[in-house]
Subunit: 205 residues, 2 copies
DNA sequence: CAGCAATGTGAACCCGGGTTAACCTATTCT
DNA sequence: AGAATAGGTTAACCCGGGTTCACATTGCTG
């Protein structure tokens, strides 16, 4: 219930969706995560949203559009969250980095569906959207990289990119594994691990 | 070329594949990684393997069977590599852990295709195989967890599982990002990061 | 040489699931 | 009220791509 509420609030956030539309997005998100995009039929989505079959087309132009909406929501959240923390130019880089990681771990764990869809189902989209969204994600990554380089100027660009990529990606497998831990424990551990990766010192060999 | 050779040697390893069969596996692996399983047609696979279309069915019972063969190859490699290192009961847990991480990082980076397919395209398989393979992977994970718990008895089972899951999953996003670094640099950095995660100390909050 | 197994090919098949069509019921607006 | 609009329903469509068919060709083997 907590998960759904969380996702629901996120979907509601952008006010441009009607109530049925939101129900569809909610249902689709759950199904996409459970069975995957390809194995989820339009009829399934409709059924899970209380209507049946082609009625979905009154709200979305097609199946891909639903996936696209979810992925864009996810990317949007990522961008906004990052921006919000980077905008606070009071903190020093170290603090910002910690805040960023904290926010990322928490929001991902509290709302795993969007994260999992974003990671796993980009392939379901037309290549054009795929590229656009990938570019946006890379852009966010570069902001993290920039921040990390401020905090640790001794790192090479490549080293920073590897670290950030790992960090942004290490949450997903944990979510996918559905370990038994509660939200709090999971995010605490993840945060600590992410910071460890960002602060690790490499001895060249 | 290095990548293909590497994968080729892996495929050749199990001697049960004929030359054409191997060519098909090789071609399919590349295509699956590039475009994804669903967007790769049987005709594409055939063409990439030098034959065209339905000739593939002389070697495999169907498209899924190709994917299955690749995924099983990948799981097999994972199990064997893990076993090989765990079998050496001379080393202390710390050393074994380090060796495990080293092997995993290196082999994943040197041969990204199998890793990426394993992570991304499990959904293409029938649920039965999906479950079986997931179970096998979880089993390997539990061996890592056991080793980690030997090395750090103060950890809870959950904490160890979170750490191991992160560690095993953090390689994939780096591979998928296709960062500019060479094989050596990538695996060195990844190894250091993985060890950092395994050795991080959690302060309870 | 006859025969048969192995391997290819292009054409045909076919079917699941996304989409569209045709039609029905509210509710709202003039 | 009458019309337009929003939102649903079931039945039909249809098409892409995995699979199957019918038919070469080659190479062994008896």
């Amino acid at each position: 219930m907590a998960k759904s509420d969380e996702l629901e609030s996120l979907i509601n956030q952008g006010r441009k969706h009607g109530v049925r539309k939101r129900a569809i997005l909610l249902a689709a998100a759950r199904l996409f995560v459970e069975r995957g995009y390809v194995d989820t039929g339009i009829d399934d989505i409709g059924a899970a949203a209380g209507i049946s079959g082609p009625a979905v087309y009154r709200h979305f132009p097609g199946k891909q559009a639903i996936l696209l909406a979810l992925v864009e929501l996810s990317v949007e959240r990522l961008r906004e969250g990052t921006q919000a923390i980077l905008a606070d130019r009071e903190r020093d880089p170290r603090e910002s980095l910690s805040a960023l990681v904290d926010w990322f771990a928490r929001s991902s764990v509290e709302n795993p569906d969007l994260n999992l869809i974003l990671q796993g189902e980009l392939l379901g989209l037309p290549v054009g959207d795929q590229r656009r969204l990938t570019r946006q994600i890379r852009q966010v990554r570069e902001e993290w990289v920039g921040l990390l380089l401020e905090a640790r100027p001794e790192l090479s660009d490549l080293a920073a990119r590897i670290a950030v990529t790992s960090v942004m990606g290490m949450v997903t497998p944990v979510l996918a594994a559905r370990l038994s831990g509660d939200v709090r424990t999971l995010s605490v551990h993840l945060k600590a691990q992410m910071l460890a990766v960002l602060h690790v010192r490499i001895e060249e060999g």
